[in-house]
Amino acid sequence: MIQDLLQSSPGLVNFGIFFLLGVILLLVVLGFVTYGILAERKVMGYMQLRHGPNQLGGRFGLLQTVADVLKLLLKEDVIPKAADRPLFILAPIIAFAPSFMVLATLPFTDKFQFADIGVGLLYYISISGLTVFGMLLGGWASNNKYALLGGMRAAAQMISYEIPLVMSVLGVILLAGSLNLNDIVMQQKHGWFILLQPIGFIVFFIASIAELNRTPFDLPESENELVAGYFVEYAGFRWAFFMLSEYVYVFGMSTLITVIFLGGWLAPFAFLSFIPGAVWFALKFCLVVFVYFWIRSTLPRFRVDKLMEFGWKVLLPIALANIFLTAVIKSLFF
């Protein structure tokens, strides 16, 4: 549907429809962020013998995040005197813009995908790598020692873990024979890649947690050491931008994992395919998000030097061995 629109002649109506679809996606993502945060707080709450938000918006705290966002909007916009003003203002935008850009290539169902480009997977990984500039700039521009340390950690971590992240999906690319996300999903008709690429999946999942800066890889913002890391000086809506980009990445990364390892919108068994793809997609997506929350409330944090060691000495060799193994198997049996 969207592909037809893109190919048809540019007109006001076509543009209007396209724009409307974009707004729908935006609302879906913002809805996810709103209720993803609530779900995270609820899940962590129940795992920690608490209730989580339960006051605003009924007994499930449905309006808690909305209230939080409103509060952030009303807060005073503080910029430290010694901060590098233009960079300080620019940093949250640089961090947050790529998080929305990556959504363009993600296929949510076979119809609902905005840009079905040949190198979709590569596009996602390269664009999401831009966010680290925002973090580094934010840490630098704040002129705060804790923020600087956090920003440096963020840069080191993101770069170190991007490499195993890319290497681990190479196995999938070899099997699928394409970088196009749509093709990757269609290749999983007879078996998800999580079954064919278990090692690749584990490496990818671990590296993705590091990319998302979540526990146990939340070193850039490690609360107990660096207080809040790179955004320690940010307040109000600038801070919200960092937070928003973080949760949009959770959305993006969960979608990506669903697409390349869990068969996207495909039903697990052929006889279940009467249920619409969107439902399957949502179920798998929620599962991945839940596992992220679960890990967060269970594990302690890595130490910064061990983190580097783990990335370079453990994950990368495993990912490389996986590529080799996949290549051998593919050339022998397929």
């Binding site: 526990t215 939340d218 967060r296 269970t298 594990l299 944090r301 130490r303 910064v304």
Partner: protein, 366 residues
């Protein structure tokens, strides 16, 4: 022109992991610490000076505020000092109540140490589990004394209140429950690879260094010195109980972590035996004069608090107030080794090492 310079970083006094108002001025090269200087005194209240103008019973509430995580041992040390100097014999039932209160307090204190330590290392959930179990102890001590943290429970010559009805049964039920929970703690944290990576071999010191720095408690026992005043200089009725003094030869943060959990097990043994031997009835106060006047002279007692040796020195000139009163506060002494341990470590280890020393700022600052 490229040049490098050391960065001066103030950790605290407003920092989530310093366990209170503690400040560390560290010089860092990248993330490596080249020099660390603790700055203390933000919570100084002059307890020792205040005590010079107070009667002995009036001093007891002030001791609650020193080591606020195990106020019972502090209560005991001042009462014990006065009783020793006056030669007062304490009734059996009071002794048992004191031991129960102190050992429950020790468990509660180690639970906080465990929970906050793991929280410092980034795991959020264990902290809340520890506080759930600590809450049960706090409730029991609350029933006993009427307060949750600052108990002000012990008096010269005994204790203020008798155990309410059914209290002993609740303590008895708590022991197996806590043992079960401890297993869960080990399952959740002790074997975790990430956790082990952060504490194993970190903050190591030798037996000689520990003795030179006058460390005590788990900080000393982690180097293999078997020294526990409950065993080596039995006070109160500790000679009636059968328990071990866990030690370790590693001397690192992991050893201290394990010792604290093992000490909970040992304290549970003591509580179990104390509940069994608990006298059905009896006095809870010895006969003491209305106005307590310590005879002329000086005296020093020391006991084992969860953090180490807590001592109380009294110089009396025969009046109802002490002429001079001094507490040996274990956290203060344990903290002294910190600058030595931190040099050459990175910022993440700073938190791990500081947490493993387990300081309470109320006690450090006095």
């Amino acid at each position: 022109m490229i040049r490098t310079e050391e960065m001066l970083l103030n950790v605290g006094p407003q920092h989530p992991s310093t366990h209170g108002v503690f400040r560390l001025v560290v010089k860092i090269d990248g993330e490596i610490i080249t020099e660390a200087k603790p700055v203390i005194g933000y919570l100084h209240r002059g307890t020792e000076k205040l005590a010079e103008n107070l009667q002995y019973t009036q001093i007891i509430p002030y001791t609650d505020r020193m080591d606020y995580l195990s106020a019972m041992t502090n209560n005991y040390v001042i009462c014990h000092a006065v009783e020793t100097m006056m030669g007062i014999q304490i009734p059996d039932r009071a002794e048992y109540l004191r031991v129960l209160a102190m050992e429950l307090g020790r468990i509660a204190s180690h639970l906080v140490a465990w929970g906050t330590y793991v929280l410092d290392l980034g795991a959020t959930s264990p902290f809340i589990y520890a506080f759930r179990d600590r809450e049960m102890i706090i409730n029991m001590l609350n029933e006993l004394s009427g307060a949750r943290l600052t108990f002000n429970y012990m008096r010269v010559g005994g204790v203020k209140w008798d155990a309410p009805e059914g209290w002993i049964d609740r303590v008895r039920d708590f022991v197996p429950y806590m043992r079960e929970q401890l297993k869960g703690y080990h399952d959740l944290v002790s074997g975790n690879e990430i956790f082990l990576d952060r504490v194993k071999g970190v903050g190591r010191y030798t037996k000689e260094e520990a003795l030179q720095y006058s460390l005590s408690g788990p900080n000393l026992r982690s180097t293999g010195v078997k020294w526990d005043l409950r065993k080596d200089e039995p006070y109160s009725i500790y000679d009636r109980f059968d328990f071990d003094v866990p030690t370790s030869d590693e001397g690192d943060c992991l050893a201290r972590y394990h010792l604290r959990l093992q000490e909970i097990t040992e304290s549970l043994k003591i509580v179990e035996q104390a509940v069994q031997q608990f006298p059905a009835e009896g006095e809870i106060m010895a006969k003491v004069p209305k106005i307590i006047k310590v005879p002329k002279g000086e005296g020093f007692v020391r006991i084992e608090s969860p953090r180490g040796e807590i001592g109380c020195y009294i110089y009396s000139d025969g009046k109802k107030e002490p002429y001079r009163l001094k507490f040996r506060r274990p956290s203060f002494y344990n903290l002294q080794i910190l600058p030595k341990l931190l040099v050459g470590e990175n910022i993440a280890n700073l938190i791990a090492i500081l947490g493993a020393v387990d300081i309470v700022l109320g006690e450090v600052d006095g």
